[in-house]
């Protein structure tokens, strides 16, 4: 496996989606290619960084207001339907 192949299979390698043979080939290449090892490490770091920073949900002070609005809107639709 060369650098171009490794790059093509990088995501599947990270996700454990490669066959045993391809995984072994990738690992053999990574053991001797510092550049590909850096790309692999920094891609993994990228995933971790976003997983840690993009996990915020609805702001606490807005959550119950949003649910209240939804209940009201649903009730309005249901009563509208009942009248028609």
């Amino acid at each position: 496996m060369n650098c171009e192949d490794l790059l093509r299979y990088l995501s599947d390698y990270i996700d454990n989606g490669l066959s045993e043979k391809l995984r072994a080939d990738a690992e053999e290449h990574l053991a001797t290619c510092r550049n590909c090892q850096v790309v692999l490490d920094t891609t993994r770091q990228t995933i971790v960084l976003y997983r840690e920073t993009q996990r915020e949900g609805i702001p606490v002070d807005r959550r119950s207001a949003l649910f209240g609005q939804l209940e009201k809107a649903l009730a309005a639709r249901r009563s509208g339907r009942g009248l028609s």
Partner: protein, 197 residues
């Protein structure tokens, strides 16, 4: 432990506890996808509202082939795309690159910091925001569902209405584009630290 997903029958019957449980389980996830695409809190809240309202008033169209969760994601994704397309085109990220256009990595420098260290300052966070905002929306959606929400490839495919192969291609491109964008900053930062006495 999260509450069990309410049954379709209880939701169709208008059971208030079922509605509360559905909102508890899925509202944050729907919000994160919408915020991930729109990058605005108010717009993301509007999508949450629209998604639940639309899904709950069209429960008869839910055929049970997918889970309720992926069905809600699908509604939220389409609602977010509609809003994005209403924005002036200069505010939109570029379209998805054509097949085979994955750029070779340019920055090959180790970042030399743990993610915790990298997130300590506002500047690092600004670069994260800039990188994800610059990603084409279709790639961003695949990245958020797979790598942030940790959905499986089949679940992501179902949520976005695309094939599993397309999810893999989009995720791969998204990861490489984000890495490249961040590497310009974190790589330079690592090189600078190394040069410090």
């Amino acid at each position: 432990m999260p509450p069990p997903t309410p049954s379709i029958e209880s939701l169709r019957a208008g059971d208030p506890q079922a509605l509360a449980a559905l909102f508890d389980i899925h509202a944050d996830r729907v919000y994160r996808l919408a915020f991930g695409l729109l990058r605005e809190r108010q717009a993301a809240e509007d999508v949450v509202q629209e998604t639940f309202l639309s899904a709950l008033t069209h429960l008869d169209q839910f055929q049970g082939r997918s889970s309720l969760g992926t069905w809600l994601y699908r509604v939220a994704y389409n609602a977010s795309l509609t809003r994005l397309r209403e924005r002036p085109s200069e505010l939109l990220p570029p379209d998805e690159p054509e097949a085979g256009e994955v750029a070779l990595p340019r920055s090959l420098v180790e970042w030399g910091e743990t993610p915790e260290e990298m997130l300590l300052d506002a500047e690092g966070r600004r670069h994260l925001e800039a990188a994800i905002s610059a990603l084409p929306e279709t790639l961003r959606a695949a990245f958020i569902l797979r790598d942030v929400e940790e959905l499986s490839t089949p679940e992501t495919a179902e949520s976005l209405g695309i094939s599993e192969g397309a999810v893999k291609v989009r995720l791969h491109r998204a990861r490489l584009m984000l890495r490249e964008h961040l590497a310009e900053y974190f790589g330079a930062r690592a090189a600078q630290k190394e040069g410090e006495p």
